[in-house]
Symmetry: C2
């Protein structure tokens, strides 16, 4: 294994274990290089990769920081709905239901790497853009990863959902896998989005992964694409 990758693993370990907390500054690159016994170039190579994965954030003149799940990161990395004319706007999120359930869907269990019958929290949210319901999310969280989760804590989170996971449960969503298809609106979606049953909707099934690609959340989004699009981020690199 290349040295820079070993350094990267060590940094990831420090982040995962909480030795470096979200939002905290890392030691300077010179210090880190000294501490790991590598040259500054090698240290930077490792950090470069973590920055590309949005796990670390560099700020010139200030330092390198463990990324936090703030509103901007949500909007630009994890929210993929945009008005057709390209306007990207943070949604208003309304909690519609919060339940403790036993997972009964094999696909959900598979995605989360657990078994049917295990306990989970199931959260339904309605997302509004410019006052109109556009998305219905059903989020499934493995109960054993979110011990102490309550409707109150979920509802009264100060910031984004992933920020809640990060600050209250030590769970860092690092990236997501998404698969989409078109479906006709079912009763629930019809009611939540105010469309006729059978209306074509986009259904996005997301598995959110933490460090080491551990699944931490499964989410099914039903999107009313009458005036909005799902935007695939093949964003410009560099």
């Amino acid at each position: 294994m290349p040295l820079f990758r070993a350094v990267k693993r060590a940094l990831l370990q420090a982040l995962e274990s909480g030795v470096i907390a979200p939002g905290e500054a890392l030691p300077s690159e010179r210090e880190l290089a000294l501490c790991f016994g590598v040259s500054i170039g090698t240290l930077r190579h490792a950090v470069d990769e973590l920055v590309a994965e949005h796990i670390l954030v560099r700020r010139q003149g200030r330092g390198t920081f463990a990324a936090t799940h703030n509103a901007d990161r949500f909007l630009f990395q994890f929210f993929h709905v945009e008005r057709r004319d390209g306007l990207r706007e943070a949604p208003r999120v309304e909690l519609a239901a919060f339940e403790r359930v036993r997972i009964d869907d094999e696909d959900v269990a598979d995605a989360l790497g657990i078994r049917v019958g295990e306990l989970a929290f199931q959260v339904d949210n309605r997302l509004l853009l410019q006052g109109r319901a556009v998305v219905h999310d059903r989020i499934t969280l493995p109960a054993n990863l979110f011990r102490g989760m309550t409707e109150k804590r979920f509802r009264e989170r100060p910031s984004t959902i992933y920020q809640l996971y990060q600050s209250e449960f030590g769970i860092n969503v690092v990236r997501v896998l998404e698969r989409a298809s078109a479906v006709g609106a079912d009763r629930l979606a019809s009611r939540m989005l105010g469309v006729l049953p059978g209306t074509p909707l986009m259904q996005v099934r997301r598995t959110a992964l933490g460090f080491a690609d551990k699944p931490v959340e499964y989410r099914v989004s039903n999107i009313n694409t009458a005036q909005h699009d799902y935007v695939s981020l093949h964003a410009k690199p560099a």
Copy 2:
């Protein structure tokens, strides 16, 4: 502007102008560094970015090559439909129609950066996976970029569509922007995909960009997601 970015631009210029043709090897990194008058580290920084954008391909021990549009690149970078169980397979592409048209849709003209009324080629393809029609594509190509295009050349292309653009018209698709929504199948889609009119389909609108982000193709894909998904590539970096 940083030096490595100037080097990157020079390399891009060499690729765009055909000084380095697709599939050709670049001079070695040592030679290039010497030629540009920069250190090997700086040269590599520039090349690293182009590799990340899939414009160059490194092969250890062999050299660095200008990327070609082969079947693999199509499948893994530009084809986003997968069977629900995760099987990714190259589609069989059937040419359904080839016409010279005047662009009458403002959205299409906007996407291509040209005006309504300009000449274009419009190609309809049907994509089959395991013998079943899953996707209908309507491709629009600005006529002034594809001088000499004929149905015969399109139909008898030896490899992928983007390979045809690259080898016959000197047009390199570098990346694509995609926006998706759900629609009910119209008459055409219904016939091409063998589904009832109104069946929910995913519609993906793609703008393909060449060097300098110049739009070179607009494509609308209607996807029957009964057994397949559209997969968003938030692929694992590194």
